[in-house]
């Protein structure tokens, strides 16, 4: 036997080996549970006690299911590991961090991780999301403690100074919104977290809730202190049962720790938090529709004004923020507004959590300062398409976002730069398509999706989208093309100008961008 092996026999008498396997639903979707079971069984049979901790995912989704083994040098990773790989891995010395063809080395040293700046996602993939002690051991509650030392107005000013803008899509300055709610006079105020995350290509809210639920609770509690709210709701889409379970359990634990409830952390603050589950309606991600749904009604969009900050849930002043906006706040309070604002570019400050999906070789979570280019995300992080074919298009910002060709890879991820390019960052989703994609089909789908998910309140959206599908169908069939292109353009204009909300108002963005950048697919030399 080698010295190494005898070294490990000494180790054997000490604590069990710590092993980490993501319990994130993406990892579970490709077999993490079976693999974890197999690992425990094989280790036991080998006489090596292990303690398997189910963490969130690091967000290197192409490596899932990923195993990480605690060693004196740090966590050593192996992935993607199928259940049938486990025997061989354990025999090869996985529990001692030995080399193997599935080995990726020290996880924190991987270029993919090192090139990121993980602030909001700092603990995701590292901690046990069900453990309050783990949260504390990794700096949890420091942001809340710092906030409770400040007056509400000072907390608001910190958030204003940080430059944080809403991560849900519209990019409205979070601190400015909070200032409005703080200034409103009312017997009750609410904080509502928008966890409806309906955009295709986005999964950061889900991964944060499944991987570090306490940071969201902390962010919402800071918001409550800052604006004078006593009650909060997290509206999670029903498509995310694991996130619902993790958040619900974390709220229960937080109550026991007095991180929620009365006299939070011994202060004067009282804040009660509840999870509510959506029911399969994309439009309920629009904030006023979400509020209607929280009130137990149909999720139709309310006209603005009044803005929710003044008349929101049950007519009371209400903070509505995305998961990532709220989860960024504790970091701002601990690290300081100036440090956060020092990151980024132009009026896009701090870090953003980008999500790479679709036909991409290395999909997952990339948290970096704003200003990284689209090309760096798709090529350096994503490593091109999963199919190995050339990239044809990327859709940024969800189903209402633009389709961009590879020759726009120079675009910096920045709210204003994207707006100038006729595109939007939205919730930070980047969906990659290879050269087999038919952009007429994607344009049609944009209209189909709008027709399917319209709340029905206004005609340009409800009727325009249905007519849009029909019109694109005629174009695809080659019928009366000139007239139908004109009709499509008219419909797009009508929807853009005449819709009450961005569902109808922005559906023309993917349609027009597909036409503009991929005119050849539509059988025209150049359009619009």
């Amino acid at each position: 036997m080698s010295e190494r092996a005898s070294g490990s026999s000494a180790q054997r008498e000490r604590a069990p080996v710590q092993v980490y396997v993501p319990g994130d639903s993406a990892a579970r979707s490709v077999g993490a549970d079976l693999m974890a079971e197999r690992l425990a069984a094989v280790a036991a049979a080998a006489g090596r006690p292990v303690q398997v901790v189910r963490t969130g995912s690091r967000g290197m989704l192409w490596l899932e299911p990923l195993i990480e083994v605690e060693t004196s040098a740090g966590r050593v990773g192996y992935g993607p590991v199928a259940p049938e790989d486990v025997d061989g891995l354990v025999a090869a010395g996985l529990l001692d961090g030995a080399a193997h063809e599935l080995g990726v080395g020290l996880v924190e040293e991987l270029p993919w991780m090192r090139r990121q700046q993980r602030l909001t996602f700092a603990r995701v993939g590292i901690v046990d999301p069900r453990s309050a002690d783990d949260h504390l051991a990794h700096g949890g509650t420091a942001g809340l403690r710092a906030a409770l030392e400040l007056s509400p107005a000072d907390v608001v000013e910190q958030v204003v100074e940080s430059g944080l803008r809403g991560r849900g899509g519209a990019g409205f300055p979070t601190g400015v919104k909070w200032r409005t709610v703080l200034g409103a006079q009312a017997d009750q105020k609410f904080v509502c977290c928008n966890a409806d995350e309906g955009d295709s290509g986005t999964f950061a809210d889900r991964m944060l809730m499944e991987g570090d639920p306490f940071i969201l609770i902390e962010g919402m509690t800071i918001a409550a202190h800052a604006v004078g709210a006593t009650e909060g709701y997290i509206y999670i889409r029903s498509e995310y049962p694991d996130a619902v379970a993790t958040m619900t359990a974390a709220i229960e634990t937080a109550r026991e720790r007095r991180w929620l409830g009365e006299r939070i952390l011994g202060s004067e603050l009282t804040f009660e938090l509840h999870v509510r589950v959506g029911a399969g309606a994309y439009i309920c991600g629009e904030e006023t529709s979400m509020l209607e749904s929280l009130e137990g009604k149909r999720g139709t969009v309310r006209p603005k004004p009044p803005i929710p900050a003044l008349a929101g849930l049950f007519g009371k002043p209400t903070v509505v923020n995305n998961v990532l906006s709220l989860a960024s706040v504790p970091t701002i309070l601990t690290g300081g507004a100036a440090a956060y604002a020092a990151l980024g570019t132009g009026r896009s400050r701090g870090t953003s959590v980008f999500q790479l999906g679709g036909n991409v070789r290395r999909g997952g979570i990339v948290e970096t300062a704003f200003g990284i280019t689209l090309g760096e995300l798709v090529e350096s992080f994503g490593d091109g398409t999963a199919s190995g074919r050339p990239v044809k298009a990327v859709q940024v910002g969800g189903p209402l976002g633009a389709y961009l060709p590879a020759d726009r890879f120079d675009l910096p991820m920045d709210y204003e730069a994207f707006a100038e390019a006729g595109a939007m960052l939205g919730h930070g989703g980047v969906v990659v398509f290879d050269d087999t994609a038919d952009m007429t089909a994607m344009a049609r789908f944009a209209m189909e999706f709008c027709a399917e998910e319209s709340c029905g309140k206004c005609t340009p959206c409800r009727v325009g989208a249905v007519r849009g599908v029909e019109t694109i169908d005629r174009i695809r069939r080659g019928e009366d093309r000139a007239a139908n292109f004109e009709l499509l353009e008219d419909l797009c204009e009508l929807m853009t100008d005449g819709s009450l909300c961005a569902m109808g108002g922005l559906t023309p963005m993917p349609v027009r961008s597909a036409l503009r950048h991929f005119a050849k697919d539509f059988g025209v030399e150049a359009a619009g």
Binding site: S25, A26, R28, S29, V30, L61, W62, E64, G198, D199, S200, G201, T202, F203, D205, R206, S238, E239, Y240, P241, D242, H274, R276, V277, G278, A279, G280, A281, Y282, S293, L294, E295, G296, K297, R298, G299, T300, F314, L356, G357, G358, N359, V360, G363, G364, A386, S387, Q395, P399, G429, V431, V432, F433, D434, A437, M442, F445, F449, E452, E453
Partner: protein
């Protein structure tokens, strides 16, 4: 009382109990509808007056809410409830072909249940698994990187 009438009365009583237990929550109707559907598999037309009564709403208001949300069904799904993601990121890796395979193999379209009551097929727009598509959900269980062969295996497994 006939057996059917007895069953109806028992269901109404149970629905009333579920609703009464949750009614003090703010905006209680959605949590109540989820709870009723979790217990009975669907929201029955006959449940609506009971819910309206408990919540002091009109039947039309309750009906309006139930029909707005695609989660709420008026018939129970088959023994296996298969939802295939048809959103953009999954389309980029073959979701449309997967959906066609499922539909052809099961002999049903979206929103339909096979004649033997074994499988209900639905479409869904994004399951938050966009880097590991195509993605499907069977019951509450998520499956990633699903190709036609893997889908058949998942369905066979779920049917057991």
């Amino acid at each position: 009382m006939t057996v059917e009438a007895g069953e109806r009365a028992a269901r109404a009583e149970r629905v009333r109990a579920v609703a009464s237990g949750l009614r003090d929550q703010r905006g209680a109707l959605l949590p109540i509808l989820h709870a009723v559907q979790a217990e009975f598999g669907h929201i029955d037309q006959a449940d609506l007056p009971v819910l309206a009564d408990v919540l002091n709403l009109s039947v039309a208001e309750v009906h309006g809410v139930v029909t707005f949300y695609s989660d709420f069904r008026n018939t129970s799904p088959g023994r296996v409830h298969l939802r295939i993601c048809r959103a953009e990121a999954c389309q980029a890796v073959g979701a449309e072909a997967l959906a066609e395979h499922a539909s052809a193999g099961l002999g049903v379209g979206f929103g339909e249940t096979t004649a033997d009551g074994a499988v209900t097929l639905d479409q869904v727009f994004c399951l938050g698994n966009c880097a590991l598509g195509p993605t499907v959900q069977v019951g509450e269980r998520l499956h990633g990187r699903v190709n036609p062969a893997r889908l058949d295996a998942i369905l066979a497994e779920a049917a057991r």
